[in-house]
Subunit: 283 residues, 2 copies
Amino acid sequence: MELLTDRNTMRAWVQQQRTAGHRIGFVPTMGALHAGHGSLVRESLATTDRTVVSIFVNPTQFGPGEDFDRYPRIFEQDRVMLQELGCHALFYPDVASMYPSGFQTAVTVEPLGSQLCGRERPGHFTGVATVVTVLLNLVRADRAFFGLKDYQQFVIIRQMVRDLGLDCEIVGVPTVREADGMAMSSRNRYLSDEDRQRASAVSAALSAARAAFLAGERESGRLEAIARRILTEAGIHRIQYIAVRSAAALLPLEKIHEDGVILTAVKVGKTRLIDNMVLTLPG
Amino acid sequence: MELLTDRNTMRAWVQQQRTAGHRIGFVPTMGALHAGHGSLVRESLATTDRTVVSIFVNPTQFGPGEDFDRYPRIFEQDRVMLQELGCHALFYPDVASMYPSGFQTAVTVEPLGSQLCGRERPGHFTGVATVVTVLLNLVRADRAFFGLKDYQQFVIIRQMVRDLGLDCEIVGVPTVREADGMAMSSRNRYLSDEDRQRASAVSAALSAARAAFLAGERESGRLEAIARRILTEAGIHRIQYIAVRSAAALLPLEKIHEDGVILTAVKVGKTRLIDNMVLTLPG
């Protein structure tokens, strides 16, 4: 596995792979890798010729008072995991390489980026869209893989890529969950044992809403209420949002007929957790 | 010369040229072509293998009350001129192709884009940066050519390309002027004969400032005053700005030592005119 640490070496590696006729898969991450990332990497390895993973804790997507400083950084562990998975290259730039002196460009996706998590975290999705644009331009991947755990991010990136005419297929990969249903996240390690147990109510709440949907409930408000009740019963009271939306464009819908998604963000202890589940009829 | 009218045919043409090993030059325009555009096209033809020109009057870079509706559209004349110049392809998309339904991405370059023309035309450079990003992604040119007449636009695009990691060399091409010094512009045709005559004071004012600079004047304020006096003496009183800045980053400078630029925007009749001249010592 090649280690690339600045824009130029990244670009040169890509040029080499392209000249050799390889199709490139790309998995952008912030490190602190878990089985969810593993699933993205395996999907890339299975469907492209060369897989590059980036590890970059992007400062511009963290707001003031958020966890940029304490975000887990375990590079050596990540590197070994990617090596063992069979990754071909690891892009690990520093901030000065990604944001050279004088940097002043921003990519916004509005209104998609200003609702749900974007309302709670102003500027977050501008930071995400900007850094992903830079990464996609450097890597020029045929396919880039994003976890559906960050569903809103996935929809925003897909829209941005379409809008800006980036020649890259954006692939959403299903959320990987712990045995109790909890969505894997680098931030789960922030949780105390007690909070971790309580946090399992998040996926349970969404599952209950999905079960109600599959049993015939179509009203968004009622589906949201079902999930909300389970959260509060578990002692999760700081619910930033719980919302049923259209799956394709995250539009508010009074009733879900097909292709909905229920999304939530809550705080458990000091940790902000997000999760979602699609609401689609089987077949 | 091939005529391409949507994103997909544009992309396919590029793919074909790249496969054949051709280096691609790109000249984005809003049509109403004049000798200034001709100079851009010739520069592209001389330094790349295949030249594509786009003609797209981009609605998002016009503010309310600006001249989007009456902007000159003379497609057939433009097409003949490009054909005669030896252009290889003409990209002439409609608005729906450039901004498909649901489009919601914007590229901003701040603070570069919010000063000078950006202060007079809020949102203008966001419209420019966004459409140029889309065009550069579609055309994937080796070199793209921009007129230095739109100096601030050139600096913004160059910064944006660097920031976003777009793999394209941005080339600035010197302003082409009429016999009396007036910078060529598609908007010059708006001017009445009388206003056209008066408008020649714009380049005269900048030339006088440059002459003073070359004669040893270094104070930005005095250089601006020299130019301002010539404008007002010619009866041009609606001066939106007249500013000496650093040439590289458009920073305000009290004194110019090397690499300055003097820029102005004025209104003559109903027509907004811009022009600039670099302030550099010979050799």
